[in-house]
Symmetry: C2
Subunit: 415 residues, 2 copies
């Protein structure tokens, strides 16, 4: 018998009320205890993971997802290290964001508080169970987690371990709850748990995002696609541009901050395109270009869909533009609002690009791969938001908070 999502939601909410009041010390201690326990129970966790791996292999799972599903002693150590790292981060809760004394004497403060119940729906990788729980606990939120069925043995064991850790502290054990029922109905129920869920973060592919958009009635932060562009301006240092394009595309092609599209100014295209194509070819990158790109280097013709796609592999679309205006228009049209980069030494071009590009992160003269909570110095990340509401770009502890107004009066009434 699995627990219905609705009951889990109510328990999460009750836990969140207590967790919101926990001191930084209590939360840090809990994270440390959980980290120690995870490592202590490594053998059992690896055994649970082996069950998942065996089922997945039987079902014909490919090598890449199998690798994502796999835990090793090192990966368990790394999960524990993540919890310890979160413990070292400053506690965002209780910060007074601003405040004012009104003419009538009312003193109004805006204070940072937890969201409450943060639900995370994710795919495959069992370490997300631990990472999400850690970042939620530190930010004072109850974590209501739903992983994929393929990782269910691993996820159940990790959640149970974290709960066992919490049981040794003053924090509620229900601060971390895992949805056991893997039915479609219960997934939908989770997306519609408006009485209990304050924020839902989906971490997964387009199918999950689309299902969330269709079904979710709780507030959602979309961690969406990254169709990231690098624009090589006429005033670019071409060596720098080459290094940035190659790094953005090939450093880790399967992640959301990898570049998918190259935009080149016409006046440097004759020189730059053969150069970059040859360099990318060394890493096996296949280019798909518009007419102007193909006039300069032989490559597959790009269709409209190629410009809009997040390939997540060694494919890259290329377009040649006649000016910055065209570059910005192309990127704003096809981009997904994740990360867009320009390579230029021209101040005006850089400033116009940063102002006019509509994306979470706009980068001047650096790799798109820098859009990342760790690299931003957040110390922990629960995803990268591609929506504008609430949080944009990498989400760390601060992005899992809201605020409330405290109003201190001395008997004031409205006349």
């Amino acid at each position: 018998m699995t627990t219905p999502v609705k009951e889990l939601g109510a328990r999460s909410q009750a836990a969140s009320r207590a967790l919101a009041l926990a001191s930084t010390e209590e939360k840090n201690k809990a994270l440390e205890i959980c980290a120690t326990l995870l490592v202590e129970r490594s053998d059992e966790l690896l055994a649970a993971n082996a069950q998942d791996l065996s089922v997945a292999a039987d079902q014909g799972m490919g090598p890449t997802p199998l690798d994502r599903l796999r835990l090793t002693p090192e990966r368990i150590e790394s999960m524990a290290a993540g919890l310890r790292q979160v413990a070292t981060l400053p506690d965002p809760i209780g910060e007074v964001l601003d405040g004012v004394r009104r003419p009538n004497g009312l003193e109004i403060e805006r204070v940072r508080v937890p969201l409450g119940v943060v639900a995370v729906i994710y795919e495959n990788r069992p370490n997300v169970t631990c990472d999400a729980a850690g970042i939620c606990i530190k930010s004072g939120n109850a974590a209501l987690l739903r992983g994929s069925s393929t990782a269910q043995h691993s996820n159940l064991f990790i959640a149970a371990t974290l709960q066992a850790g919490l049981a040794q502290t003053s924090l509620p054990v229900d601060s971390v709850l895992l949805v056991e029922d893997q039915s479609h109905e219960e997934a939908i129920a989770l997306m519609q748990l408006t009485d209990f869920v304050d924020c839902l973060i989906p971490r997964g592919g387009p199918d999950l995002i689309s299902s969330i958009r269709q079904n979710a009635t709780v507030p959602v932060i979309i961690d969406g696609d990254g169709n990231c562009h690098v624009y090589v301006d006429q005033a670019a240092d071409l060596d720098e541009a080459l290094a940035i394009v190659v790094n953005s595309k090939t450093n880790r092609p399967g992640v959301c901050n990898a570049a998918e599209s190259l935009v080149v100014h016409e006046s440097v295209a004759d020189t730059f395109l053969p150069l970059v194509t040859a360099e990318l070819a060394k890493s096996g990158v296949e280019m798909r270009g518009d007419e102007k790109a193909r006039a300069r280097v032989e490559m597959t013709a790009a269709c409209d869909d190629d410009f809009a796609r997040e390939f997540l592999d060694l494919t890259m679309s290329v377009v040649v533009v006649s000016d910055l205006t065209q570059a910005i228009a192309h990127i704003n049209h096809y981009g997904t609002g994740h990360t867009e980069a320009i390579v230029t030494s021209d101040l005006d071009a850089a400033r116009r690009f940063t102002r006019e590009i509509d994306a979470a992160a706009v980068i001047v003269n650096a790799s798109t791969r820098f859009t990342d909570g760790e690299r931003f110095g957040f110390g922990a990340e629960i995803g990268i938001s591609t929506q504008k509401l609430h949080a944009r770009g990498p989400m760390g502890l601060r992005e899992l908070t809201t605020y409330k107004y405290l109003i201190w009066g001395t008997g004031q009434v409205v006349s």
Copy 2:
């Protein structure tokens, strides 16, 4: 022939891109011009409004909604004054929220930018067309508005006037667009315009909110019910408590920050309940109490639903609690996360209440009626959020913004 919502959305988005780059001076000038034009065209606007009033009267609209629908020369002056007031407010756009230089030399800034396209669906009152447009323009957002069919003549005329004003400036005329097609299908289409709408704010009753929750796939900020409580603690100054309860309940019973529920500590209930009931009765307030309240003062018995309801009229639920813990539990259970007040002279009680109550605004020793953008000093308000994501409590210019990260590099790549 009305323009399909999808086409309006595309035009709004195009306008939003230009509007996001407009200077504060350009935006202020546009607001001034629109204000002047509205007043100049008062007679025509009153004529359009008379058409709406006549249809509404024929359809048997009651006096309260008829009054909300009615424009007068004073009300038009007040709409214009609202636009001029917004022009005087500081421009939130371009503010650098924070920034950091990373060890690798990357300089990361977080800069406040407009949301983009803000859609507002509202009921009855035509002044919302003007108010929402003004606050959107100042915050650099294109306003995509859908009023009620009952106010359609007024809304169309107001929108056309604002567009005529915008046409005299460098800002896009499409910065303000009104959905003309009043069909249910087009309302749903607006709620699902994910390609174009960055934020939807519904302003209306429970039916609208429920339809939004069911149908919206765009990001939403819920401006929901206010089931606001006043808790009179054992350490309350009872004169102060009386004034605060009466003001919270009767100052304007039909608005969301009016009190709907009274929570009284047992130890002061014998004295306070007869006092407050008598005083509230003078304003025609009917009390509905739990057993302990009815043991002290004769009143209707409250059912569970009475504790959960936003009456919006001269009815108030009453519960007597044995301690602060019970008071907090009652309020967190039945409250809607809007505004909750405590009257007490006990510091510990006040601090516990402010920490443990989960609401947008927690008020100590003042009327619940203070939760309001104007009274908070925002200078303008587009609604009061009862959700936790993005904005909580009164929403002014700042709450209609998001941010983007600008990353300035010198050729950095990820290793």
